[in-house]
């Protein structure tokens, strides 16, 4: 057991660090720039709405594109992609090393991950050569941003419950329906979408997969305002949206299979999101006073903190175990599936507890609150969303039980019945 890089790994790390030192700003510590520490949506590609309205958002997007171009030129934008599409042709461990290094810097995030991490790889498998040549290089350089149009009002945890209609009309398809929880739809240039081409087939059999230009007539994007007051997601409405059959990926009715390619390419963990964890509450307890003095000296606080510490570090060391597997060329085990499950609830507990320690001042949101600014107030709201977005706690426990432990599936009412005969309530 040791934590040192191999010689090659060390060389790559140095390369990454050199690039970052020149091109990015080091992340500040907690008390200097508290807002930089505001929790970010941890699911892929959902940048927090920039405060300051549309103009500021546009500026942020431009900055992100500039950064991405630099990163792509240096070769770090798509380490795992083959060189022919502009990638680095690197290994998973190199991706991890780069991400670890980037984590210490303040760089734009949430714009390109879905394309490079999930949609690009899907096109590599299912697209034709022309498509690949046309679209893939621009995903990396950030010239074109992609979004993923999967979820629907009645297809959330039940991902395959998609109702979006795709009807064939000659050489074209006509899309009608609604997508939801679409990160980045408001700035994306292209999207990939799953739609139901045959409602009378079994649920997983009647789907077809397409890519499309987000400027295609009939597409309307509306932001969803969240509990936090900001908008990371969109609803996207499709009203007689016509796309050519050439934009189909995979066969008719093979949409679920293509979608699985996308889902299985959820990018490797790219370092922890700058969040709200043990370290933050540890700092807070050194400032806050409870009934018998500084919170950090209080027995109940200490007991709770210890449990959060072992959860937090336990996750970190679990990641080390995965990286070890990667660096040996193995596929990491299923350990990573526990990360969001543990992190989201921990964040909710930590936030709620920090507010408790502030006593009545915990009620006060916003920058007036002197302890770590509004970090824990934000965390209180953000964590409630984090327990749901990207797979609810319950879906994750099911995944662990079924895919990791091999326990039997729930009784499924929806496996043998044509989709349009399934009970679906009023949605």
């Amino acid at each position: 057991m040791d934590f040192n890089d191999s010689q090659q790994e060390a060389a790559f790390r140095k390369e990454a660090r050199d690039f970052l030192e020149v091109n990015a700003e080091k992340r500040s510590i907690i008390s200097d720039k508290p807002n930089d520490k505001s929790p970010q949506i941890a699911v892929a590609g959902a940048p927090e709405t920039v405060k300051g309205g549309k103009e500021a958002a546009q500026e942020a997007l431009e900055r992100a594109k500039v950064w991405q171009k630099k990163k792509a030129e240096a070769g770090f934008a798509a380490i795992l992609w083959p060189k022919e599409f502009g990638g680095y042709g690197g290994s998973p461990i190199q991706q991890v090393i780069y991400s670890q290094e980037e984590h210490d810097y303040l760089v734009p995030s949430g714009y390109f991950e879905i394309g490079i991490g999930m949609l690009g790889p899907t096109m590599m498998v299912w697209g034709n050569d022309e498509d690949k040549k046309r679209y893939l290089p621009k995903m990396i350089t950030g010239e074109e941003i992609w979004c993923q149009l999967f979820s629907e009002p009645s297809a959330g945890s039940d991902l395959a419950g998609i109702k979006m209609k795709a009807e064939k009309d000659g050489d074209e398809w006509v899309l009608n329906g609604q997508k939801v929880w679409t990160s980045g739809a408001h700035f994306a240039d292209y999207g990939m979408i799953v739609a139901r081409s045959d409602p009378s087939a079994l649920k997983h059999k009647g789907l077809t997969y397409f890519y499309l230009d987000m400027k295609t007539p009939g597409i309307e994007v509306r932001p969803i305002k969240q509990i936090s007051g900001t908008s990371n997601f969109n609803e996207v409405f499709f009203n007689d949206v016509r796309i050519p059959d050439s934009q189909r990926l995979g066969g008719e009715g093979e949409g679920w299979k293509v979608a699985l390619t996308t889902l299985m390419n959820e990018r490797l963990a790219v370092g922890d999101p700058p969040g709200l964890d043990f370290d933050q509450i540890f700092e807070a307890t050194k400032e806050l006073e409870v009934e018998d003095g500084l919170a950090i000296k209080n027995s109940e606080v200490r007991q709770k903190m210890a449990d959060w510490y072992v959860q937090s570090r336990g996750l970190q060391y679990t990641k080390f175990r995965s990286i070890t597997a990667l660096s040996k060329g193995q596929t990491p085990g299923p350990e990573l599936s526990i990360s969001k499950l543990v992190t989201a609830s921990k964040m909710q507990d930590v936030s709620a507890y920090a507010l408790e320690l502030m006593d009545s001042s915990g009620m006060v949101h916003h920058d007036q609150n002197p302890v770590l600014k509004n970090l824990f107030q934000n965390g209180y709201f953000f964590s409630a969303a984090m327990r749901i977005a990207g797979g609810t706690d319950e879906v994750l426990r099911n995944i662990i039980a079924e895919r990791v432990l091999g326990l039997p599936q729930d009784e499924r009412a929806d496996k043998k019945v044509p989709f349009n005969e399934l009970p679906s309530g009023k949605n």
């Binding site: 959330g156 007051g229 609150n369 009412a413």
Partner: protein, 376 residues
């Protein structure tokens, strides 16, 4: 054995529920949520004042209805259910109770009728810093008949006409150096700064005091004891608000889980969700029972009140926090949108478990009072 509200009290509850269902729907609540400039729902406040709710437990001689604390508990539960955006608790559970219990005859005559009629609004201010309030953290001073200092957060401070405030009457900075004072907030030297709370329908501000006139309430040096007693009384009332809010959170989770389908089934048929709702139910029933016990202690001026009040608050905070948080979870994606109402309860639940001291602090109170009772 009669551990229930009377038929009259239940009738009052039904009326209050019906009234608030009509007059305080979620749209009304959201007018306050969505507008930074609005601190409470004025029309609703007028209406509930006209109906006499504000005077429920204030004696008739001071302009109230002269009903009891049990009636106030019943109303509190309904205010909690409806998320009513009014300064009711600050003005009635706190300000009016302070005056009623500790005011001189003159003070009662002067303030209670104005509060009972809803014409004026009062509140209370103790905290000056982050963390658990302690006598040593109170820096605000009273000398030469003037208050100088700073309080934050002051619930409903922007709306309030009067304030009861804890300040040092000598320089010792200990428990016995603190007295309570009544301050008219409409005077020079009072400056308010809006604060954004985690539940904007229950606002707060900070207030700076520069040479502000104030009159003593109750005995000098007894601020801490009086505050503990009034907080105990208020804790019972708040626990009914919390139980009300928790029950609605469960009801709405249940409703959604039966309407929403996934994998060809009502999501409410999945054990993960059923058992979560069963746990909500358990916590709410325990909280309700603890709140009833608090109500009994409150209404009979029992010396069980300190223990009963702390038990009610701890149990109710736990139930509402849990129910509100898992209501979001059961709703899934829509649960964390602004448009769905889950977050209103999530906001309110946390605010209510912090406003008169954290649940943590009330657990501490509970055990302290159990120890005292054991010694007696």
């Amino acid at each position: 054995m009669n551990f229930d509200f009377s038929d009259d009290q239940k009738l009052l509850r039904d009326q209050a529920r019906k009234f608030l269902f009509d007059k305080c729907d979620r749209k009304s609540v959201r007018t306050i949520l969505d507008d930074d400039q609005l601190h409470y729902h004025k029309e609703l406040w007028s209406q509930i004042s006209e109906m006499g709710w504000t005077g429920t437990a204030i004696p008739e001689e001071y302009g109230g209805l002269g009903l009891g604390m049990l009636e106030l508990c019943v109303i509190a539960e309904e205010l909690g259910r409806s998320l009513a955006p009014t300064p009711f608790s600050s003005s009635i559970y706190l300000f009016a109770e302070f005056i009623k219990n500790y005011g001189s005859e003159d003070q009662k005559k002067k303030f209670l009728p104005l509060i009972a009629s809803g014409e004026k609004i009062g509140t209370f201010a103790l905290s000056e810093t982050n963390g658990t309030p302690k006598p040593s953290n109170v820096k605000t001073e009273y000398s030469s008949e003037k208050i100088n200092g700073y309080k934050s957060p002051v619930s409903d401070g922007e709306t309030a006409d009067y304030l009861i405030i804890a300040a040092n009457s000598d320089n010792k900075g200990n428990r016995n150096s603190l007295s309570l004072y009544i301050v008219d907030l409409h005077q020079d030297g009072v400056s308010k700064t809006s604060l954004e709370t985690i539940d904007p329908t229950r606002p707060a501000c900070s207030i700076k005091f520069e040479n502000v006139k104030a009159e003593l309430l109750g005995e000098q040096g007894m601020a801490w004891d009086m505050t503990e007693n009034i907080f105990n009384r208020a804790a019972v009332l708040y626990s009914f608000e919390q139980v009300g809010g928790a029950q609605v959170s469960l009801d709405e989770a249940k409703k959604y889980s039966m309407e929403r389908f996934a994998f060809g089934r009502q999501i409410g048929s999945f054990q993960a969700l059923k058992h979560k709702m069963a746990d909500m139910y358990v916590k709410i029933e325990l909280a309700r029972s603890n709140a009833y016990y608090g109500a009994w202690a409150l209404s009979t001026d029992s010396n069980e009140l300190p223990v009963a009040a702390a038990g009610a608050r701890v149990s109710a905070s736990d139930a509402f926090n849990y129910a509100a948080k898992e209501n979001i979870q059961i709703h899934g994606g829509v649960g964390f949108t602004w448009d769905y109402d889950c977050h209103l309860f999530y906001r309110r639940s946390k605010l209510l478990s912090l406003n008169i001291g954290s649940t943590r602090q009330w657990r501490e109170n509970l055990i302290s009072n159990l120890e005292k009772r054991n010694i007696v």
